[in-house]
């Protein structure tokens, strides 16, 4: 319940405040969002399997975001920023899909 309130609160805050992304954060924010989504989908899967743990979720969320941002930063420094961010997005996308498939299998048994 509380997380849902947090979700609604975040959406409303984003819509109301309409802030512009700082230039320094611009390359990292999309990747960070994808990484966080991966953590959230993983958490949903764990919730469905009744083995959800707050601590694990918090740690995986933050570490996902930090690692993804760090990889993009590293890629930019090495001059392969666009390729590396594509790779990160692909890997995270695969994880999101496999987690979503697990959830689907659990709900629809299909």
């Amino acid at each position: 319940m509380i997380p849902v309130i947090g979700l609604a609160f975040g959406i409303i805050a984003g819509l109301v405040l309409q802030p512009t992304v700082p230039t320094a954060l611009q390359p990292y924010l999309p990747i960070a969002i994808v990484a966080a989504l991966d953590a959230v989908i993983g958490a949903l899967r764990a919730l469905g399997e009744r083995r959800f743990d707050d601590r694990v979720f918090v740690v995986s969320f933050i570490s996902n975001v930090v690692i993804a941002a760090f990889m993009v930063y590293l890629g930019d420094q090495l001059g392969v920023g666009s390729q590396l961010s594509t790779g990160v997005v692909v890997v995270l996308g695969i994880r999101i899909f496999s987690n979503a498939a697990a959830i689907r299998r659990r709900i629809f048994h299909a």
């Binding site: 509380i2 997380p3 947090g6 609160f9 975040g10 992304v21 230039t23 966080a36 959230v40 707050d54």
Partner: protein
């Protein structure tokens, strides 16, 4: 009922007194939602601040190439345009010249009316002694004096092909019957024309010899509207 009520009450109590970790989860999810909204609304703006450096370089390169291509195209089209403009001007000049020439020639050929200073000669011939050669002599004299357009009685335009013919006491000029008295209009230098007519042994004298009278009037403006019949040449071809 009380068996089921206990866990429900416990759930509510949990919601009312959330643990710290739940709040952290909520904050994280809220932050994610916030970031997504911000990023989505930020993506709508069409600027390049979010584009990576090397992508910008690629973009710039492709724009450079396109720019060069368009500049070349522009040069070619400018050259074409200049060529067309000058050829248009040339053809305009040629058209103007051709038009003026056509106007000159149409006066010579008698296909256009003409106006200008000149004289009017009226030949009265009560004895009917003026025949076609005499009238032709008169016309030739006017031509010698520089008449540029000549018409007789306002109906017969005299041009190079015009012929003079005696026909049953009448004179035909270019096929048109001319009635007495003869009125010859000629456009040219009126002074010269009038002198040529009046000179001793000239037109006036010869008409008088044949019992007629010729009167000359100088006019500032003679208008000839009679047109010659134009026949396309049947045998002669321009060379």
């Amino acid at each position: 009922m009380p068996d089921h009520g206990l866990p429900a009450r416990q759930g509510w109590r949990e919601l009312l007194r959330p643990r710290a970790s739940q709040i952290i989860v909520a904050v994280l999810i809220g932050a994610l939602a916030f970031a997504i909204t911000v990023q989505v609304s930020d993506d709508d703006s069409e600027d390049y601040s979010g584009v990576r450096g090397d992508e910008l370089v690629e973009l710039l390169k492709s724009l450079d190439v396109a720019n060069g291509r368009l500049a070349t195209q522009l040069d070619e089209l400018t050259v074409t345009r200049n060529g067309l403009l000058s050829s248009t001007q040339r053809s305009e000049r040629a058209e103007k010249q051709a038009k003026r020439r056509a106007e000159d020639l149409s006066i010579l050929a008698g296909t256009a009316g003409a106006t200008g200073p000149g004289i009017e000669v009226v030949i009265k011939d009560p004895d009917r002694q003026i025949d076609a050669p005499a009238l032709l002599d008169a016309i030739e004299e006017l031509r010698d004096a520089g008449a540029e357009a000549i018409a007789i009685n306002g109906v017969a335009r005299v041009v190079a092909q015009t012929y003079f013919l005696d026909d049953d006491g009448q004179i035909r000029v270019g096929g048109r019957e001319i009635k007495r008295p003869y009125r010859i209009e000629a456009i040219g230098a009126s002074q010269d024309l009038a002198e040529a007519v009046r000179i001793r042994g000239g037109l006036t004298d010869r008409v008088a010899n044949r019992g007629g009278t010729a009167t000359v009037v100088r006019k500032d403006k003679v208008t000839i509207t009679a047109l010659a019949d134009v026949k396309s040449p049947e045998y002669a071809r321009p060379k």
